[in-house]
């Protein structure tokens, strides 16, 4: 398939986003054509939601430190997306689009209210930035990005990964999330104090997905901290790749 025919991903960058290269690469390994574009160029081009729908199967917000996380993580990036692009991502999803927010991109999606107004994200409970590998388990079958996947080993690298739900409405909100399968990814351990050990969330359609761990950082086995225990598998792919492959299957079906 030529590049022009491939299902396409728009990977946004600029303003302190810094995982755009490896994120684009993971999508390419899964079969996509990935374009890394500067947010300012997309804004200057006045790309409308219709253009986004027509041109791209996936919108990806990679990890990074957008605007230095100076006014809490992902905040100003979320404001910039809301005010200067003004895309209704729920409409994008309903028309077959897929959205992925990883780490800082996930934080921005949360700030934009895509997982509800009662959800927020804040400093890890221990107050420190943490780079470590975690085990996460998908829950339910709502999230198309996690379809059919079992437990995954992935790295986390964040200082603000504690997902919190408004205490006054906690049980109600959690109940809704569980009912609709929005609480789609959980840590097996407790690396940051997240409510319900939440590592990732999806929207009601399961097509908008955000997570704190970095699936793009585990697309080859040699990224895993224990790979030298099994050097014979050194050429094997990593478990994170499956997330992108799921999206590819979904995008092809949607086409």
């Amino acid at each position: 398939m030529s590049d022009t025919e491939k299902a396409k991903v728009l990977v946004l960058t600029g303003d302190g986003i810094n995982c755009e290269q490896e994120t684009a690469q993971a999508f390419r390994m899964a079969g996509f054509g990935a374009e890394i574009r500067h947010l300012n160029d997309v804004i200057a081009e006045r790309m409308r939601l219709e253009d986004l729908c027509r041109r791209y199967s996936v919108l990806a917000l990679p990890g990074g430190f957008s605007f230095g996380d100076d006014l809490t993580s992902g905040k100003v990036l979320g404001l910039k997306l809301s005010h200067q692009l003004n895309w209704d991502l729920n409409v994008y999803a309903s028309r077959g689009g897929l959205v992925l927010g990883i780490c800082n991109g996930f934080q921005a999606l949360i700030r934009m209210g895509l997982f509800g107004k009662e959800v927020s994200i804040t400093s890890n409970v221990h107050g420190k930035f943490l780079d470590t590998w975690v085990k996460v388990t998908p829950r339910g079958s709502q999230c198309v990005w996690l379809k059919g996947l079992g437990s995954l080993d992935l790295p986390i690298r964040h200082g603000e990964g504690r997902i919190v739900i408004a205490p006054t409405r906690k049980s109600e909100v959690l109940g809704k999330m569980q009912r609709f399968g929005m609480d789609c990814l959980q840590y097996e351990g407790d690396p940051n104090g997240s409510d319900e050990r939440l590592a990732g969330l999806c929207d009601l359609t399961g097509r908008i997905f955000g997570l704190m761990p970095h699936p793009e950082a585990y697309v080859r086995w040699t990224s895993h901290p224990e790979w030298t225990q099994q050097p014979g598998r050194a050429s094997a792919p990593g478990q994170g790749l499956a997330v992108f492959e799921n999206a590819y299957k979904e995008a092809i079906n949607a086409k």
């Binding site: 430190f65 230095g68 005010h83 780079d131 470590t132 408004a166 901290p225």
Partner: protein, 1043 residues
């Protein structure tokens, strides 16, 4: 109108930031910490807003307020964003003790200090309101709310000074409870007063300096008062140059009468030790009082014509590797990675700024060295950072000399600076070290390194090209110019004392720099500029002054510089070291595209003038000439230093005071000694530090700083690795290996050995991770960083420098590893007062070697942990260890060993072992299961480190014919602990024998929890001891020592 916003985490949630501050108070003032019952940390923002009130309310609510998490107080501005009472009372009612007794400590930046949060707030307001708001002002700060009925105002002041604020860049106010309850701080006039002002009543005047009539004393006095750091000889050289009749006449014709302050400042920056490396360029007379030399030491000449030329550049020239693309002529050495790509490496030090403001110093250190890489060749992408910190022990309890910060504060600030600098820039921090010695109290050493990667051909030109044509435009991009960092280069060329200037301190802005970095790489690939370099020490005077040499001149009008605030004098604009700036030469025809792309990327530009071929550096201000400096004089006119170096010989080997006899005392004490060593700060786990750095961003990670067993589970457990491996290219299995070596302890024995040891350790560290060595296609490059106590007028310290240089040279030659880049810092002394008495603290001579090597197939990378029970354990390489200068010597004087000796290198042996490990000979290397070098703490510490993560045990028999103390805990050269499966062992041993690779079969990995050690049978007295690995692990993880 003015507004103040206070944001607090709702009481239902824990507040990790206040917990962290409370932990720090606990460490510094435990008695005060006892009195604190509860706390909250609130963010504060002050705003002068020039628009409708509704706009302010709408934007502020969107920007600052998170309904789920926070309360926001704004006086009466936005009632809906508050709790029940709409203010501090809500928080007070939520505190566990009611009614409690509250205090608050408010922290604000001083005028002119970089305020990143305010800068982001400004952008956020413009985004939300959809328009430029040039007349608005913003400032950020914090308020620490503490509750405790016994707390006093004095306690708060101590917390402010020792924990919460750095008074160089911040001011603080104690607010009592009564004031907190009323809302006076939200009043318009009050906010107006609280917004920091920068109203420098500076003039645009250019002064002239008349040196002609000055006596020697007056010249020296003037240089020191103006912080020029020029010596008497240098002042005389300047005076004489500007007295020459042809210079006077030429200048008269240009309308320049006397020497301008701009000119002398430019000369002072250019000639500073920091920029010019005069000590490394000096003529040195070297002599030795005692004849004893290191074994195999080639004699050091008595007359040395520049240590740099002979021992550094000379070494690299002798080795002349085809893959060296550019060395010593650029910001960083450039090395071919393969036919298509190149890498570059640079390590910097940022010691003096880090002593004054550890956070800002280290942050600017790391983003500064990133810029070296961005400005290397045609511009490289930073792909990894390294960090090495040398500080005094954190449990330092003696009183501190005036103005020095406690090492705990230094390390915490430095750590946070590198965390923010590296993580926010998206560059993985993959390698480093932490070294403790009492003598780093006066000046901590903060080494920040960066590696870069770039295509070998960029827009039709080789990546290492550095050329400028006359007529190319001078464009400065990135941050604006302020008073920050004025005289940084000259300041770092002086000893630290009580009067060191506050303007030397700067804060970095990683996001502005990230935008600059992204922009440069994009502009580079489009061929939009001809040359690039960074603005570091010396600011414009250095960056333009150096680039001007490429075309033969430059002419710029510095009034065209974008400023942070008005009131800068022209000379200040020229020498300011304001951060995040790069200087570029842009061809005329590309200028519009260049500026247009910068605008789209949110990068500010100042077009200052053009490069010329006039032979002059000409500086104008509002079109009036204020400096015209002959480039030849500027760059080559500095008088050469002549230095004397006299080596008094090695000190006498210490005699251990112990009474115990050899093996008996060993058997009784070895286990406790091992546990003690594992907890030594130089050896203990650095996991607390490593995990606060992102070491995996960019997706290239292959071997990480730690190996981790059962990752992601409650049983996760990590141990140390030696070097890092990265896979920089998607479509190639070749990788880069990074490691470092540093061993200042040996400086007390002989700096020659110290330097050899640093080179050997750096090389062993990359070998452990899998680096190629000795093959036709091997690539192994070294980077040297000397941090010395001032050797000028101190022949012994100068001799130490000479010996270290020659030691480094001998090791680099022996291992065929060229030096591609380096930096020196020569004034690492503190002169101050302790309880009114003068005190001087000098760092031990410290050389950091960083090694970067290629690994042809990353699938052959190794980690240090033993992989399986039943695997055989070997000591590979040298088995000659000494106790002198070792870690164990510092912990245990009761070794019963008289006198101590020091191990010497054996480079013939080293080459055999390293060539086998590096894949140059033999076929069995790929069957190694683990590899770890023997360094601090010796063989038993190395074995323990291989066991820690998995919790396996081992049965070890020490090599025969050696004293057990030396064999267990002695330190030396060329030694590794390796493991392999029993099935592979026979062939491997046969190959080692055939290839004369020395090895000792030490024992076997067991599934028990115990490390069991016996001395070789047949020894006069055999000894046997064992210890639990769980105990070893918990000693190594030593908690409570650091945050």
């Amino acid at each position: 109108m003015f507004a103040r916003f206070e944001v607090a985490v709702r009481p239902e949630f824990s507040d990790p930031h206040v917990q962290s501050i409370l932990r720090k108070i606990q460490m510094v003032h435990p008695a005060i910490a006892e009195k604190v019952r509860w706390g909250r940390l609130m963010d504060v923002c002050w705003i002068e807003f020039s628009g409708p009130r509704e706009d302010l309310i709408r934007a502020a609510t969107e920007i600052f307020y998170d309904r789920v998490l926070q309360w926001m107080f704004s006086g009466n501005l936005i009632p809906s964003a508050t709790g029940k009472h709409g203010g501090m009372l809500d928080i007070m009612e939520a505190a566990p003790n009611r009614p409690g007794k509250f205090w608050a400590l408010e922290r604000r930046f001083r005028g002119g200090v970089t305020d990143n949060v305010a800068r982001t707030a400004a952008e956020a307001f413009e985004i939300v309101l959809g328009k430029k708001l040039p007349d608005c002002r913003y400032a950020s700060g914090a308020m620490l709310l503490l509750e405790g009925d016994k707390l006093t105002e004095d306690d708060l002041a101590l917390i402010a000074r020792d924990v919460f604020c750095n008074e160089l860049i911040e001011t603080w106010t104690v607010i009592p409870e009564s004031e907190l309850k009323n809302n006076n701080r939200f009043h318009q006039e009050r906010i107006k007063g609280d917004l920091p002002k920068v109203l420098f009543r500076g003039s645009e005047a250019v002064d002239t300096v008349d040196l002609s009539g000055l006596s020697d004393t007056e010249l020296q006095e003037l240089s020191s008062r103006k912080l020029w750091a020029l010596s008497l000889e240098e002042m005389r050289a300047v005076r004489d140059h500007f007295n020459r009749s042809e210079v006077v006449e030429r200048r008269k014709a240009l309308g320049l009468e006397g020497l301008t302050d701009v000119e002398i400042e430019v000369i002072a920056q250019t000639w500073s030790e920091h920029c010019k490396h005069k000590i490394f360029g000096a003529k040195v007379n070297y002599s030795e009082t005692s004849a004893d030399r290191a074994e195999g030491e080639s004699s050091i000449p008595s007359e040395i014509d520049s240590l740099f030329k002979t021992t550094i550049a000379g070494t690299t020239r002798e080795l002349s590797r085809p893959w060296l693309l550019s060395v010593f002529s650029d910001n960083a050495g450039i090395v071919a990675f393969d036919d298509d790509d190149a890498f570059c490496i640079k390590v910097e030090t940022h010691n003096s700024p880090s002593a004054l403001d550890p956070y800002g110093g280290a942050l600017t250190g790391i983003v500064g060295v990133n810029r070296d890489i961005l400005g290397c060749g045609l511009g490289a992408k930073p792909i990894f950072n390294t960090d090495v910190f040398c500080v005094a022990p954190l449990d330092h309890r003696e009183p501190l000399p005036d103005r020095l910060l406690h090492p705990r504060r230094i390390l915490e600030g430095v750590r946070r600076g590198v965390e923010h600098g590296g993580n926010k820039s998206g560059i993985p921090t993959v390698n480093g070290a932490l070294v403790f010695d009492e003598r780093y109290l006066g000046k901590p050493l903060v080494y920040c390194g960066t590696g870069g990667f770039m295509p070998r051909m960029i827009a039709g030109r080789p990546c290492e090209t550095k050329e400028i044509q006359s007529g190319d435009r001078i464009v400065v991009i990135g941050g604006r110019v302020g008073k920050d960092g004025i005289h940084g280069a000259t300041f770092s060329s002086l000893a630290l004392d009580e009067s060191s200037p506050v303007s030397a301190v700067q804060l970095g802005d990683p996001i502005t720099q990230k935008r600059v970095a992204d922009f440069i790489l994009e502009a580079r690939d489009q061929g939009l500029y001809r040359a690039v370099t960074d603005n570091g020490a010396g600011g414009l005077s250095s960056s333009v002054g150096e680039l001007a040499q490429l075309s033969g001149g430059a002419r710029m009008d510095v009034s065209r510089c974008k400023l942070k605030y008005p009131g800068l004098r022209p000379f200040e604009i020229v020498v300011s070291e304001s951060q995040e700036r790069m200087t570029l030469a842009v061809p005329h025809e590309k200028l519009n595209s260049f500026l247009e792309l910068a605008e789209r990327r949110g990068v500010e530009t100042s077009e200052l003038g053009e490069f010329t071929n006039s032979g002059q550096l000409e500086i104008l201000y509002r079109e009036k000439l204020i400096a015209s400096l002959d480039l030849e004089f500027l760059h080559n006119g500095v008088p050469r230093l002549e230095l004397t170096a006299q080596w008094p010989g090695r000190p006498k080997a210490p005699v251990a005071s112990g009474t115990g006899g050899g093996a008996n005392s060993y058997e009784a004490q070895a286990a406790a000694t091992l546990i003690g060593l594992m907890a030594r700060p130089n050896i203990a786990s650095k996991e607390w530090l490593i995990r606060q750095y992102d070491h995996e961003v960019q997706g290239t990670s292959v071997i990480k700083p730690l190996h981790t067993v059962n990752p992601g589970t409650a049983d996760a457990s990590s141990g140390p690795n030696d070097g890092a491996v990265l896979k920089p290219k998607l479509n190639s299995d070749s990788g880069l290996v990074v490691g470092c070596g540093i061993n200042p302890k040996l400086s007390d024995v002989d700096p020659y050995l110290m330097a050899q040891s640093a080179v050997d350790e750096a090389v062993r560290n990359v070998l452990c991770a899998g680096a190629d060595f000795g093959r036709a296609d091997s690539v192994l490059a070294l980077c040297d960083n000397f941090c010395w106590p001032d050797p000028v007028k101190d022949p012994a310290k100068m001799a130490a420098l000479v010996r270290a240089c020659y030691g480094m040279r001998s090791a680099a030659l022996a291992l065929s590893a060229p030096l591609v880049s380096g930096k020196d810092s020569m004034k690492n002394d503190f002169r101050g007062k302790l309880r009114g008495q003068p005190v001087t603290i000098s760092v031990p001579p410290t050389l950091l070697m960083t090694a970067v090597a290629k690994i042809s197939d990353i699938r052959l990378s190794l980690t240090s942990d033993f992989k399986r029970p039943g695997d055989l354990i070997y000591l590979l390489g040298s088995d000659s260890f000494g106790l002198w200068g070792s870690e164990v010597m510092a912990t245990n004087s009761n070794l019963g060993y008289v006198p101590m000796r020091v191990a010497e290198p054996d480079w013939n042996l080293a080459r055999k072992v390293y060539s086998w490990l590096g894949g140059a000979m033999g076929r069995e290397r790929s069957k190694l299961r683990s590899l770890h070098d023997v360094s601090d703490g010796g063989l038993m510490v190395a074995v323990a480190e291989c066991l820690i993560a998995r919790g396996y045990g081992a049965q070890i028999t020490l090599p025969p014919g050696r004293d057990p103390w030396e064999a267990s805990f002695g330190e030396g050269f060329h030694a590794f602990v390796a493991s392999a499966s029993e099935a592979d062992a026979f062939n491997m041993e046969a190959e080692w024998m055939a290839l004369e690779v020395p090895f000792v079969h030490l024992g076997v990995v067991t599934s028990s929890d115990r490390l069991e050690v016996t001395t070789a049978s047949g020894a006069a007295q055999s000894a046997r001891w064992s210890t639990s690995i769980k105990q070893v692990r918990s000693a190594w993880r030593k908690s409570g020592y650091w945050e």
